[in-house]
Amino acid sequence: MKEGGGVMTQQTPVRPLGGADGGALIDEDWEAMRFRVHRSAYRDPGVFRDEIAKIWGHTWLYLGHETEIPNAGDFKTRTLGGRPLIFCRDSAGEVKVFLNACTHRGTILCRHNEGNTKFFQCFYHAWAFSNSGDLAALPGDESYPDDPGFRESMRLRQVPRLQIHEGFVFVAFDPDVPDLLTHLGPAAHYMSLTAKIGAHGMQTLPGVQLYSVKGNWKLAVENAMDGYHFAPTHNTFVGYLRETGFAVTDDDQYAYDLGGGHGLLVLTGHNGRIGMVWEPRFGDEEKARTVAKRNEMIARLGPELAAEIADASRILFVFPNLLLFDLEALTIRQLEPVAADRTDVRAWQFVETGEPESVRALRIKTMVSFVGPGGLATPDDIEAYEAVQRGIVATADSADPAHDWSDMSRGMANEKQGNQGRSIDEGAMRSFWRHWADRVGAATAVAGDPPADPGAPGPSAVLAAGSAATSDAAAPTSGKE
């Protein structure tokens, strides 16, 4: 793929299509009602390098949640876009994110996954840094310049940008990215909805699911924004729910393009919601608590906001690496691309602070019975990513160039008419791919006239409710740059 192919909004077809020769990777045709993605987008190491450089290098990335490091001195280490980072709370209580490399020779400074410390000491030459990044110990410093500027130049390197929305910590490696709330757009509101579930706040739990899939990261995004796969792929899970007394339906459920590559599915027929929408497998004790919990939410938030938070499940994708599953219970999932055909996945249970132990146990049991590599559903999604990654080799290179495309046309006629896309259509995937192409500079061929109205940036009820979205989005973000 060529650099800087800024032609994605062009209205006339770009030829040649596909391949590594600079052809379009997205082929959108509003006469034939066809949208397809060239399969090299999942396969090509060159495309992958472009993604890391142009997306991961220049976009806000979800790093972690503040509650992972509740106390001064707490730290976690993890990579983002392959860069090793230290995510910590310094002795003054401030969230800090450092490149996890000694400023001396580049050694991995902290080799632990997590812990609590005032100082990070490099084992190699024993340089030590405070948890706010100061160079605190420089062994044999008489042989270095007698100049405070030298020590200052050897401070730990902080990520250029760090901002927090509702406890969700984002970083950017590009100092010139726009403000986090600008990046999040309407997605900020949906994060706020989830953050308001608990009367005493929300928190992550230890017990992080770390696993890796043999598939491109975008397959995991597509899968989360794809209600079409639910019934066939999760046939056995749907059957299990039916036996517990819950009938899954895909009726009257919609997908939303939130702009900026972000997407949202709003689901009312896939599952109950612990504390909010009861279903039989949650048990009788939870049935009574659900009534009390709704009353608590109405008293605290008002009936409209309580209903918006509680009545529907939501799957929120925040471009490029955060999936927030607000379903039976809550899971934060982070995608870390490792190679074109490999993605590391990290998943945290996200729970109400201070809830009773019995509710917590129900929440964990219920959520991990569905999501995660040991659940009754996610393994079939993983099978799908991996089977796609294996299958798209079939048409690669010169074998069958005319068919080296994946189709995402479902629901285009509906979209053209200006109707809200259903969760079982593929509109949320299309909006993701359009933004992706824009970010990586992949050419897009567009034929015919796209719909004039891009659709509502969220359920119409939200917009009708007035200012909820904007006021939520503006208030709770603490800018920590």
């Binding site: 017990g207 696993y211 490792v338 040991g374 393994p379």
Partner: protein, 173 residues
């Protein structure tokens, strides 16, 4: 806790449990799972038995305080068996080939009607041209009665740092 005559025998109430009893139980389980005889495997649980697979960062948390890979009550174990027998359990259709080695069996402690044991496992899983080793240890609470041993709590603790690419837990670990 009852008196212990040696590391190889524990007294549970009036009954004696030997390491060989536990080894036989674990070997039989390994065979049933490798042969996908899941209905028979399910009978190795007592009613209300549980099955857990903690995450790789596990530090002794119970299932009220942390996320897990698997946290099944008896009903969910039954649902898991039913699912895995279905052709629609896509992640296991076709089935993975698995090969289990169980060793280092230790009788840790006896309760009034249970014995707490640990063992090491090495499970090789093969599918779609990939080979996946799963390394860990079992820490089980086994109910002891006249019929022999049954799972009260079956816990498989991975020692890997994470699940490697392709190494999902779509089978019984």
């Amino acid at each position: 806790m009852s008196a212990t005559t040696s590391g190889a025998v524990l007294n549970v109430g009036a009954r004696e449990v030997t390491r060989a009893d536990v080894e036989d139980f674990l070997y039989r389980e390994a065979q049933l799972l490798d042969e996908w005889r899941l209905d028979e495997w399910f009978t190795m649980f007592e009613p209300d038995g549980r099955m857990e697979v903690p995450t790789t960062d596990w530090a002794g948390w119970d299932a009220t305080t942390a996320g897990f890979f698997v946290c099944d009550d008896y009903d969910l174990i039954r649902a898991r068996v039913k699912r895995l027998k279905s052709r629609k359990a896509h992640a296991e259709n076709p089935h993975s080939r698995t090969h289990r080695m169980v060793s280092n069996v230790i009788l840790l402690e006896a309760g009034a009607e249970t014995v707490w044991i640990s063992a090491n496992f090495l499970i090789h899983r093969y599918r779609d041209g990939g080979a996946y080793p799963y390394v860990g240890r079992y820490e089980h609470v086994l109910k002891v009665d006249d019929d022999g041993l049954r799972f009260r709590v079956r816990r498989s603790i991975p020692v890997m740092e994470s699940m490697d690419p392709g190494a999902r837990l779509s089978f019984i670990l």
